[in-house]
């Protein structure tokens, strides 16, 4: 595209006085930096692969963990992360259009396309912030049981099924149960299990929050009567295999629901210190392996940090273009160099997307 391909003999290229690669020093160094940065990300993703390969417990499935959209209830697997990926690809396109405009010395074009690139970057970064927040808060919560047992449950298709669970099996609470539980603990209240219900005792000082807890649990009538009784009952609804797909005889054993007395059995067998809502650096509700959420935080966090750097650098170059610095210099190569960095950020996301969310 840029007149680099003219035929020059090898002797001429390497005899000194010019770059044998026919590019400027700055661009060369940007390429070297990108190779080294790509090794960092390659190392991180490979480390993730090593841990995942070495794990004999089931690994969470991306489309089960990431299936929420901001402000909506229900299951939208991978839709939000698809939107994020699309935004980053489009901002990469606007970046390359800015580079192209620079090659035509089109100042207005450069300013316009770089502006869109910065906006796309900001949109991506805010999406990532929402996704982190959602990942940290979780949907419900979970715990491990301490003794092996067998429970009667209902599978996806409403058929009864008996599950033989090993000690340490991960049990999830549905959002209604989990949120009420978490809310009670956070506000100094207590919970107990009685007659197949989760009974929530609110702390005296937290009575003003009753209506909120009732709404979160989807039991408005309970909340209405909460003025005279500070206890609230939520029918137990637990889920086995929430974040892993296990196939037995061709059947998708994803959402095995356990309710009533059977659920009570599981709740009473909760292993000490395993109760967790969402994820932090010590525990997570998604997997037995803590590395799952640690790698999520580190890889997407490190990538997000690169996006932040890219936005700042793009903004600076956008300001310089507006002030006519590059027009006076006679070329827009600076736009090309930051463009290389921005495309690299997109490139990394393509791999993170595949290996963290899809595979």
């Amino acid at each position: 595209m840029s007149g680099h391909a003219e035929a020059v003999s090898k002797e001429q290229l390497w005899s000194g006085g010019g770059s044998p690669f026919s590019i400027s020093y700055g661009k060369m160094m940007m390429w070297y930096f990108l190779v080294s940065d790509a090794l960092t990300f390659g190392g991180l993703l490979t480390a993730y692969g090593v841990i995942r390969h070495g794990s004999s417990d089931p690994w969470p499935v991306g489309e089960q963990v990431f299936e929420s959209l901001p402000g909506l209830h229900g299951s939208y697997p991978l839709i939000y992360v698809a939107l994020m990926t699309f935004i980053l690809i489009i901002s990469s396109v606007t970046m390359v259009l800015a580079v192209e405009a620079g090659h035509r010395m089109d100042k207005k074009g450069v300013i316009k396309w770089m502006g869109y690139t910065v906006l796309g970057g900001l949109f991506f970064l805010s999406s990532q912030a929402w996704e982190w927040s959602h990942f940290i808060h979780g949907s419900g919560g979970g715990f491990q049981i301490s003794t092996p047992m067998s429970v009667n449950a209902t599978d996806d298709h409403g058929q009864p099924i008996t599950m033989n669970l090993a000690a340490g099996t991960w049990v999830h609470m549905t959002a209604d149960v989990g949120h009420a539980y978490e809310h009670a603990i956070d506000n100094g209240g207590s919970v107990e299990v009685h007659n197949g219900n989760l009974v929530v005792h609110h702390a005296a000082h937290a009575e003003g929050h009753d209506a909120h807890a009732g709404m979160a649990a989807g039991h408005g009538d309970h909340a209405a009567s909460a003025e005279h009784a500070a206890a609230e009952e939520i029918p137990l609804d637990l889920v086995l295999n929430k974040y892993t797909l296990e196939h037995k005889d061709g059947k998708d054993l994803r959402k095995i629901h356990v309710t009533g007395a059977e659920a009570e059995k599981l709740m009473k067998d909760m292993s000490a210190n395993t109760l967790v809502f969402g994820a932090n650096l010590h525990k997570n509700e998604y997997a037995v392996q803590q590395q799952y959420s640690n790698f999520f935080f580190f890889i997407t966090g490190f990538h997000g940090f690169h996006v932040l750097q890219g936005i700042i650098i793009n903004f600076v170059i956008w300001m310089m273009a507006r002030r006519g610095v590059f027009e006076r210099r006679g070329h827009y190569e600076m736009v090309e160099k930051v463009g290389l960095f921005w495309h690299f950020v997109d490139l990394v996301w393509v791999f993170v997307f595949t290996f963290y969310y899809l595979v």
Binding site: M1, D252, F351
Partner: protein, 125 residues
């Protein structure tokens, strides 16, 4: 210190200019690549959502397809968006070869190690 991108090597940067007609052709190519990248992403999402593990195809096949699609996407980004396809051959090799060699070694050694750990875990646990 002299700014080399301003003085000595200015010829490379200034020669990178192209005309309006060339610009039109280049933009057309860029829009086409945009469509391709979007289409691949849509296919990946579709596969991720609808292809259940081990139900329709074996999971190994789906995984391999994901990886191939990702490499195709990466190729378009590096060769077209980052213009590496238009650079001199020696620059292409300097950037791609060392990286490819090292990362293939790393992946091989990593997955081999991981498998061995899994074997130990499931045998002696």
């Amino acid at each position: 210190m002299e700014r080399d991108d301003l003085i000595i090597n200015d010829s490379y940067s200034v020669n990178a200019r192209h005309s309006e007609e060339d610009g039109k052709k280049i933009r057309k190519k860029l829009y086409m690549v945009t469509v391709i990248l979007t289409a691949i992403t849509v296919v990946e999402i579709f596969m991720g959502v609808f292809f259940k593990r081990n139900a329709t195809f074996t999971w190994e096949t789906i995984k391999l397809t994901f990886i191939i699609l990702t490499l195709v996407k990466a190729g378009y980004i590096v060769l077209i968006f980052m213009h590496l396809g238009d650079e001199r051959k020696n620059l292409k090799y300097v950037v791609l070869l060392p990286y490819a060699l090292f990362i293939m070694y790393l992946i091989f050694i990593g997955l081999y190690e991981g498998l061995s750990v899994q074997h130990l875990n499931s045998t002696f646990r």
